[in-house]
């Protein structure tokens, strides 16, 4: 039997180790999921405004500043936890927040925003979840970052937390430059 065959484990082992090293050293986020929307124009949508049923919120919102589209609901407990960070984001200059109220009751949402504070410049109503489908929602909450050209640059799944806030905001800062 050829002895050289025992070199195979040595080579395979070091190949694997180098791949691991490479991945550890480059800047990457393993929880980032690819989305069909990234780098594409934000999907067309039309939503009734929560506070004024006559007004329609649509893609005309995009274009002047960076827009965060945040899907939320009052029945979703993680959204409640996330809310303080959404508020924090709303205080930053050059960012507009659009809330999409997912499968909820208007009255309850109004009360909820009254109590918790309303960080959104506009809130659209997605009663039957059809906007969520167009945007490819995984779960709720979920936040999309749309740049000045109306292009989706970043998608964040799940609640923004104390831990992830910084990283999330750095993504937005990148766009501001």
């Amino acid at each position: 039997m050829n002895k050289k065959i025992f070199l195979v484990p040595v080579i395979l082992f070091f190949l694997l180790i180098s791949i691991f090293f490479y991945l550890l050293l480059i800047d990457r986020d393993p929880s980032e999921l690819p989305s069909m929307l990234i780098n594409k124009k934000a999907p067309q949508f039309k939503a009734e405004s929560l506070f004024d049923e006559q007004t329609i919120i649509s893609n005309t919102e995009f274009g002047e500043e960076i827009v965060l589209v945040n899907f939320f609901a009052t029945w979703c407990l993680p959204c409640r936890a996330e809310h303080q960070f959404i508020k924090k984001l709303s205080n930053k200059p050059g960012i507009k927040l659009i809330g999409i109220n997912y499968k909820d009751k208007n009255e309850i949402t109004k009360k909820w925003l009254n109590e918790m504070g309303n960080p959104y410049s506009k809130v659209g109503v997605d009663k039957n979840g059809s906007i969520a489908i167009d945007w490819g929602l995984y779960g709720i909450p979920e936040t999309y970052v749309v740049d000045k050209n109306g292009i989706v640059q970043y998608k964040y799944i799940g609640p923004i937390t104390k831990k992830t806030y910084k990283q999330f905001y750095s993504q937005i800062k990148k766009l501001k430059k």
Binding site: K3, P9, I17, I19, F20, F21, L24, R28, P78, K105
Partner: protein, 628 residues
């Protein structure tokens, strides 16, 4: 105070491990004296470190950063204690403690004949302890002080607040770390080359592998039980990277136990056993690396920290690089030109060994493939359940068929005629059992029938072998193998015939699934020790009678603001009824997921059989050595 005690013990243990790795000795007496000191010292200091952290959790000492981050005074006592190893730093401390225990056990092997051999093994084991201890001190010290005074901790991930999970890591670590002993012994064997013909190194390895395998088995099962009861996804295995990380050493460990039998009997296959010993432990370390470095995401990922990943990876490169190069250089001394006949005990064991290794390689590929693709093509892909089911199930079918009859094969050479004669009652028993099962359950599904057939095949073979006292087939093996049969029954039943129904229900609504009617009675708010919850109350009836009231919960832990789902499960020998309360409100109703999981309980019973078989084998092995 605790911080000082803990930190000091960490450094002292590190010092002792360094000595253990590099110390020389002149006489036998000096060796025993010196190494006794190192080995006992390591054990004592790592115990002190571990138990002082546990004490910190016990008294909720929030001056320790680790306790502050992971505990809360409102937490039930058992979870305070379990929190010691429920976080990255503490779990590494447990890892070190188990390493030191195995270090001690290796030292216990020492006698006049094997002195040099044990010395070399202890050097390797000492180096492993040194590596992990340095890792703790440099990147994951659990005894860091809090900068400010805090009266309350941050709590800990409530998903981890579960009895099965609380005891799962200690068992798992005895498994993972037990393989370190096999690794050290295998390396010492390679270094010693042929000088050790009078040292029964394969018997030593076998004892350690058995301990590791037995505890890894129960450790994996406990993790699985946790996933089943706590995650609320209706399943018990998800091919999650971390599950795979524990499954791979298990597969190789299983192969290792069986090939050690051949070494014991025929002295061939030594080279294979040595390679498996090295690979099994390295896979355990790779498992740790995958979980701790945050290189991939999984339900178990601990706090992400790339510097930790780089450290473990470097350590692994040194350890593995050394082992493989040594193996390359020394393997020729252990090579035997011997061929096996398939129809013999050793031939069939070897065949199954190869299948296990291929299955392990397939799991490994599925786990790291997304990483390789990302590194080379910068593309993100995910490998999921379909890959594993499609590749692994076909490979395990021949392995299980062979597993049923191989134990009664003769060594060296057997005849087909004899095998058929002995097996025919078992084949008949299997067919009768399978047909009556299908008649009773009326489940017709190709994969399911194969699964049930294999389960009964293993069970009837083992049962009849036990009754007829088959030669060379120990009771311990029968027990463990019978457990595998039960396990297959549970796996086949629950994966092929699972029924699922999702519905939006309001209070007083009714839902039907198969023979069951579910009535949504009420929904209430309740208060637990450190959480608040909404609890649904569902009445489950079959056609005639009431079966049970199921009360699934959705809990909110205010301290960490985390929501968990608690599935409610009614278990019988035939099926589990599994209900999960989803999102909703009292106006629009609640999303309810209801599963019928047939035969799940047999998975856990099967594992208990395997565990018992393993424990009895360990006992038998130790007795044999005592008498020898």
């Amino acid at each position: 105070m605790i911080n000082i005690v803990g930190n000091t013990s960490l450094y002292l243990a590190l010092l002792l491990a360094t000595f253990q790795t590099f110390s020389l000795f002149k006489t036998e007496k000096k060796f025993i004296k010196r190494y006794k000191f190192f080995v006992f010292g390591s054990l004592i200091f790592s115990s002190i470190a571990f138990f002082s952290l546990m004490y910190g959790y016990f008294v909720s000492d929030f001056t320790i950063l680790n306790v502050f981050k992971n505990s809360h005074s409102s937490k039930p006592l058992i979870y305070k204690i379990a929190a010691t190893w429920g976080n990255h730093e503490g779990s590494m401390l447990l890892w070190i403690l188990v390493l030191s225990i195995f270090n001690f056990l290796i030292f216990k092997l020492c006698n006049k004949k094997n002195l040099n051999y044990v010395y070399k093994s202890l050097q390797i084991q000492g180096f492993i302890i040194f590596g992990f201890m340095l890792f703790i001190i440099l990147t994951s010290n659990p005894f860091q002080n809090m900068k400010s005074l805090q009266s309350e901790g941050l709590g800990f991930n409530p998903i981890l607040q579960d009895p099965a999970l609380a005891i799962h890591p200690p068992f798992l670590y005895i498994g993972y770390v037990g393989f370190s002993a096999a690794f050290s012994l295998a390396i010492a064997t390679l270094i010693s080359q042929t000088k050790i013909t009078d040292v029964p190194w394969h018997q030593y390895i076998k004892t350690f592998v058995m301990i590791a395998w037995t505890f890894l088995t129960i450790g994996i099962a406990l993790g699985s039980i946790w996933a089943y009861y706590e995650l609320g996804w209706g399943g018990w295995w998800f091919w999650d990277p971390v599950e795979n990380a524990s499954f791979m050493p298990w597969l190789l460990g299983t192969a290792l136990i069986h090939s050690l039998m051949i070494v014991e009997k025929t002295k061939s296959l030594q080279i294979w056993v040595l390679l498996l010993s090295i690979l099994t432990f390295l896979l355990s370390v790779i498992g740790t690396f995958l979980v701790r470095s945050g290189i991939l995401t999984s339900v178990h990922t601990f706090a992400l920290d790339p510097s930790r990943g780089i450290y473990i990876l470097t350590f692994m490169a040194i350890l593995g690089g050394y082992a493989f190069i040594l193996f390359f250089k020394k393997s020729k001394y252990f090579f035997s030109e011997k061929y096996f006949i398939f129809l013999s005990k050793e031939g069939s064991i070897l065949f199954n060994n190869f299948l296990m290794v291929i299955v392990c390689a397939t799991v490994f590929l599925g786990t790291v493939y997304p990483l390789i693709i990302e590194a080379i093509l910068d593309d993100k892909i995910s490998v999921g359940e379909p890959y594993f089911n499609k590749t692994i199930i076909p490979m395990t079918i021949p392995a299980i068929l062979l597993m049923g009859i191989a134990p009664i094969f003769s060594w060296k050479k057997d005849t087909l005629k004899r095998i058929i004669r002995i097996s025919s009652p078992k084949i008949i028993a299997t067919i009768i059992l399978t047909l009556s099962f299908l008649y009773f359950y009326k489940f017709i599904n190709f994969m399911g029938i194969i699964g049930i057939f294999l389960a009964f095949w293993i069970m009837s073979n083992n049962f009849l072998n036990l009754i007829f006292k088959a030669k060379g087939y120990s009771k311990e093996t029968v027990l463990a193998h019978f457990g595998v049969g039960l396990l297959i029954l549970g796996i086949a039943g629950s994966s092929v015939w699972q029924e699922e129904k999702v519905a939006r229900m309001n209070v007083k609504d009714k839902m039907k699934i198969k023979n069951y009617t579910i009535i949504f009675n009420e929904i209430n708010e309740i208060k637990g020790q450190n959480y608040v919850a909404i609890q649904g109350n569902f009445l489950v009836n079959n056609k005639k009678n009431k079966i049970t009231n199921l009360k699934p919960e959705k809990r909110l832990y205010p301290v960490t603001n985390i929501v968990t789902t608690e599935a409610a499960i009614h278990t019988s020998l035939a099926r589990d009824l599994y209900i999960v309360l989803g999102d909703g409100n009292s106006n629009d109703g609640w999303i309810i997921r209801f599963y019928i999981n047939p035969l799940v309980i047999w998975i856990w019973i099967g594992v208990m059989f395997m565990f018992a078989g393993g424990l009895l084998s360990i006992k038998k092995n130790l007795n044999k050595r005592k008498n020898a």
